[in-house]
Symmetry: C2
């Protein structure tokens, strides 16, 4: 019943026949080929025929002919483990969509060797993707395999050791320094940093930023750094240690939100109110934690969405330019904004 579109899909030849023109002409009008004039009336006839038949060009066939699949591949390391991989994908996908590109995704196991894995890359290459973005769970550097050499590619969360590929990373260092700056503006003079005892090179930016911020205002950071396991228990112990000092800090800046959660408990056990008696800041803005805490946690956000966008935008530019990595690679540090909530206030005492 009704105007059911035929199950067997119409091809360009059907449209041509229906409009009484050649397939060449159909192709020209539907693709609006530059430098090609077609009579107004013919254009209308072709469009009408295409419309009527519900014609959709077969992208596989077009890709085969043009050597461009208009598809890009995103290989994501531990797509599930990375808490916000979803946001990277979303940013990448939105951008790809805007550029008319399809986005294929493949998971890759965490690489012990800091090397992009050939297997997942090949799955894409065989499908003639126009470019690849490789998202790691934040390594420092990665060495890119030869397979990736011949195709536009960009890295998320890691730098190319050989400096051939563009890469985008979060500027955690500046974000952390900004937190210290904010705390200082609030009047804090005694700011501690609860660091992660897991010494991953990639995350050292956070302590570094803390140090930067402290030194910028002439404070000595090192006496106020305590490390713990990067979870609530570790944060609890470190905060307890800090708060039990004879001259406790008025602000606790934590390596991540989970540690901040532990710091809340340490404060509560000591009858310290947040933020009146002690200010607490986290890192990651890992939903749903910061907004579920009481008071809600001031923290710094990771620009996952923006990194995804940047990567695809850069990839698209490279694809269009047709340069598979011959010009100098550029690397981009995206800002980590501090998101202000309730856990920070001016210190009550001096």
């Amino acid at each position: 019943m009704g105007n059911q579109v035929a199950r067997s899909k119409a091809g360009i030849r059907d449209v041509a026949k229906h409009a009484g023109v050649s397939v060449t002409t159909v192709s020209h009008v539907l693709n609006e080929t530059p430098h090609t004039r077609v009579k107004e009336e013919t254009v209308d006839r072709v469009r009408a025929a295409a419309e009527e038949l519900g014609y959709r060009p077969n992208r596989l066939a077009r890709g085969l002919r043009t050597h461009a699949s208009e598809m890009i591949g995103l290989v994501a390391e531990e797509i599930a483990a990375t808490p916000h991989a979803g946001r990277i994908i979303l940013g990448a996908q939105k951008r790809a969509d805007a550029d008319g590109l399809a986005l294929a995704i493949i998971n890759s196991d965490l690489q012990r060797e800091p090397t992009v894995p050939p297997r997942s890359v090949h799955a894409f290459l065989d499908r003639q993707v126009d470019g690849i973005v490789y998202a790691t769970v934040y390594h420092d550097e990665v060495v890119v395999p030869p397979a990736l050499q011949g195709i536009p590619a960009v890295l998320i969360g890691a730098r190319d050791r050989d400096e051939r590929l563009p890469s985008v990373l979060p500027d955690e260092r500046t974000g952390a320094a900004d937190v210290v700056g904010m705390l200082v503006e609030y009047g804090h003079r005694s700011i501690a940093f609860i660091d992660s005892a897991e010494d991953i090179p990639a995350t050292r930016g956070r302590v570094r930023g803390y140090r930067d911020g402290m030194e910028a205002v002439g404070f000595s950071p090192d006496a106020r750094i305590v490390a713990g396991t990067p979870d609530a228990a570790g944060g609890y112990r470190a905060a307890a240690q800090l708060l039990d000092q004879h001259d406790p800090p008025t602000a606790l800046f934590c390596f991540d939100d989970r540690m901040a959660m532990g710091a809340y408990r340490a404060a509560a056990e000591r009858g310290l109110r947040i933020p009146e008696d002690v200010s607490v800041v986290g890192f990651d803005d890992q939903d749903p934690l910061p907004t579920s805490m009481h008071p809600t946690l001031t923290t710094v956000a990771l620009p996952h969405y923006e990194m995804g966008e940047w990567a695809v935008a850069t990839l698209t530019a490279r694809i269009r330019a047709g340069s598979p990595g011959d010009e100098p690679a550029m690397s981009c540090l995206l800002p980590c904004p501090v998101v202000v909530r309730e856990s920070v206030a001016a210190p009550a005492r001096r």
Copy 2:
């Protein structure tokens, strides 16, 4: 330097030439075409040639010929908003990988109309995907557009109103009932449910399951249900109300983990210890919340990964069977396991 593979990729013709055979033969040996005997020695020669040239078949060309792209599309509604969309994708991806299928992903804005959007579907159809899985943010039902009619498809998180497509959903009702069962076994006789005031049909399974569980042991549930906004503040208020009753419950079963977070605070303010004085259970197992709480939260997990797997497995079966939806649709309810942590214990009093 070294054995760099030529930048210009070898095609099947190059392999044929190199091995001194026809492309037909190359195709047969590389694909191991059934019912085709090739001399042992020829096989070796072809394999060697392919290896040496680093031959990788062009999947676009093959797809054009065979009318099978060996790619499936996953359209995810609000990929970022759904907290664990990443796990759905991971499950789907792992399964697709095992089946030799590529997985393309596209985001779709939340649909106000409960209808699968034609636009994202077309992006896939034009690329000749072999099938589509559509993941919603848990609707009750969805009406599938005609575009999806002609191709294998399966739904995640929603049922097809016309009962043509298979679908997979979390069995929240049973999961919730299981929680009550567990609480009863611990000796609880007074179990309250903190419900969400947002009445979304899809999530009603949680209260229903609570009711099921209560009625199964002869308890009356309704006096113990209090609703609030589904966040920490809402959980706090509801828990406060419950705990301030003259005969407070010994266990608080919360609609979600965030509400449980609020319940913790209400308990703490009243000097009630968890789980000694009051047991608390959440729902969602939304990382990193339950493991960051103190004590860690017993909650029920959503089978995101498994739903992704199930969807792709079912889709693959349909594709292989070549039946685009003519046989009766089947719907699957996947178990929501309760994950036991520290927030539950036997009640101290009676």
